[in-house]
Amino acid sequence: MPLQSSDITRIAALARLRLAPDESTRMLGQLNGFFDLVETMRAVDTAGVEPLAHPVAAIGDIALRLRDDVASEPDARDANQRSAPAVERGLFLVPKVIE
């Protein structure tokens, strides 16, 4: 079933994305155009097929690597905050969350 404009509103809210009304309308048409392509994929019989996440796992086990839980990084706070929109005394500033 094609997406409705109410779906676009819901998905945009989930994605934390504001869409202007004309953008929303255009998005609806374009997404439905894309999901027409997806129907062939949905029809494929995948019973018993394991999902593939790391592609090289197609030929053997790939274990996600863990490293020892030890602090290894030097202090780089200033460099890390250099491109932040709002910083004060080494803290990232955001709008007030709790009234």
């Binding site: 504001r18 062939t40 994929m41 197609a58």
Partner: protein, 501 residues
């Protein structure tokens, strides 16, 4: 070498030639850097670069000259290259082509950038790309090109009314126009191979996990791979050898596979090489000029001793929906970090925190990025995850299995990189699906995580370049580069320059 010869020849030299001339002190790293910087400034109309800083480049070049003088220079000391603006760099800004990151300065270098610097290369600047590497035409750029006051699409040096391909379009255009001997690129669904094909250069994407993704602005983490783009396979081999290697502390998906010298087997014979040609890659959708160039290349390979074998990749068309579901899902997750708090753009006006996120992202992201975030958010959302995301991951395995069946009958797989030559700027208009469909031949190897290469093999419609795609089995990069190198020893397509260059 006289000064006159130096300047007239430097930009037609590749990585191998420049490395040799630098080591022999026929040219200094500063002279080489100045030469290419002058060409970059003169070639600004192409829109290939988004960040150039002569002083930063010359400082790196002086350091390279000092090491050469001291006699402890690494193999590529003083060789100038440029980086796709997806790799974070401390010496240059990094934007990923997005307003979201305009002016961003990374506190660290990407592992690939660091490895290439350790090999001695000098950075000429940062190259334009589609925003967050999402695009096939390098038209989705939101940051100004170097020397221009606005964002512009990159132009193809072979015909400036045409696109260079994408998303590594700036990389391909710069190398084709001799603004840089080589460049880095990234390939998620074809973003190295397709622009290499459209601009008549050579480019390779290694096996997923070979090159570290640390410091590559993330688009789709299970697909993104870095690779070199240069004029010859020999140059790509030199750069790829420096780029690849395990990065266990920084990239959890990096494979524990030692660095390899990909130049070692470049000259091996192609006698008996079995080249599999999938029927699905030469169907009706392929432009006649592209097909003719690919057929001629396969005939050349037969003269070089290779054998042509028919294989089948029956799920080739399914790779389009599978890829655009998975890549969008991963993008929607990766791009959630752009919220106007820790780095990047923040909206000037907002009511509260949630409104700040939504407005920041509305203003910071371009149309294609928003579309993919929307698709990704939808397919990961409650009630749709199994039908879309999980189903796509299952079909992804079937596509990867198809390749293993094909490789039982052949050593490498060959076909076109794209169904057509580079199209005109704006030709696909407001129809994103037209771009998606054009990715059909590069997506299957991306989904399977296989290495893929594009080698220039002729011209098709409108005299535009055509690339042959060679796909190898896992860790088969050396074989691909060997096959491309032997082809380039027998032909001169890779040495041809666009008119006026």
């Amino acid at each position: 070498m006289s000064d006159l010869q130096k300047t007239s020849e430097l930009h037609s030299m590749g990585v191998a030639g420049l490395a040799a001339a630098l080591a022999a002190r026929e040219v200094s790293a500063v002279e080489a850097a100045r030469h290419f910087l002058a060409r970059i400034h003169a070639g600004e109309a192409l829109g290939a670069f988004v960040a150039v800083d002569d002083e930063a480049t010359l400082a790196q070049a002086r350091a390279a000259d000092a090491r050469i003088a001291a006699g402890d220079a690494p193999a590529l000391a003083g060789v100038p290259i440029a980086h796709k603006d997806i790799f974070v760099t401390t010496d240059f800004p990094t934007t990923a082509g997005s307003r979201m990151l305009a002016g961003y300065r990374s506190p660290f270098d990407a592992t690939v950038v660091r490895r290439l610097a350790e090999a001695g290369t000098v950075t000429l600047g940062k190259l334009s790309c589609d925003e967050f590497a999402m695009g096939s035409a390098n038209e989705n750029v939101a940051v100004p090109a170097a020397g221009q006051d606005r964002a512009v699409p990159v132009r193809n040096p072979w015909d400036r009314d045409r696109i260079p391909g994408g998303s590594s379009g700036g990389s391909a255009a710069a190398v084709a126009a001799r603004l840089a001997p080589a460049a880095t690129g990234t390939d998620t669904g074809g973003s190295i191979r397709q622009p290499a094909s459209f601009c008549g250069i050579t480019g390779i994407k290694p096996t997923y996990g070979r090159a570290s993704r640390y410091g590559m602005v993330a688009f789709a983490s299970s697909l993104d791979q870095a690779g070199p783009m240069a004029r010859s396979a020999e140059d790509c081999a030199l750069l790829l050898s420096a780029m690849c290697g395990p990065d266990p502390d920084r990239d959890s998906t990096s494979l524990d596979r030692p660095a390899e010298d990909f130049s070692r087997t470049l000259g091996d014979s192609l006698d008996g090489l079995r080249i599999g040609v999938p029927a699905e890659f030469l169907g009706d959708g392929v432009a006649p000029g592209v097909r003719a160039a690919v057929d001629a290349a396969l005939a050349e390979y037969e003269r070089l001793g290779a054998k042509r074998v028919a294989v089948t990749l029956p799920r080739t068309e399914l790779s389009i929906p599978v890829y655009y579901i998975l890549a969008a899902a991963e993008a929607s997750s990766n791009l959630s970090r752009f919220d106007g708090v820790k780095f990047g753009h923040r909206a000037a006006q907002y009511k509260d925190l949630a409104d700040m996120y939504a407005r920041t992202r509305e203003e910071g992201f371009g149309d294609e990025v928003k579309r993919r975030i929307m698709i990704g958010t939808y397919v990961l959302s409650h009630g749709y995850y199994d039908a879309y995301y999980l189903q796509a991951q299952k079909v992804r395995r079937l596509i990867a299995d198809d390749f293993q069946q094909a490789f039982a009958q052949c050593d490498v797989i060959a076909g076109p990189v794209a169904p057509t030559v580079a199209w005109k700027l704006g030709e696909h208009g407001d129809d994103p699906v037209a771009d998606y469909l054009a990715d059909i031949f590069t997506l299957p190897a991306s989904l399977a995580g296989l290495p893929g290469l594009s080698v220039p093999v002729g011209t098709g419609e409108h005299g535009m370049p055509v690339g042959l795609q060679l796909i190898g089995n896992y860790f088969g990069e050396a074989r691909l580069l060997n096959a491309a190198h032997r082809f380039q020893q027998a032909t001169d397509w890779h040495t041809r320059a666009p008119q006026g260059i």
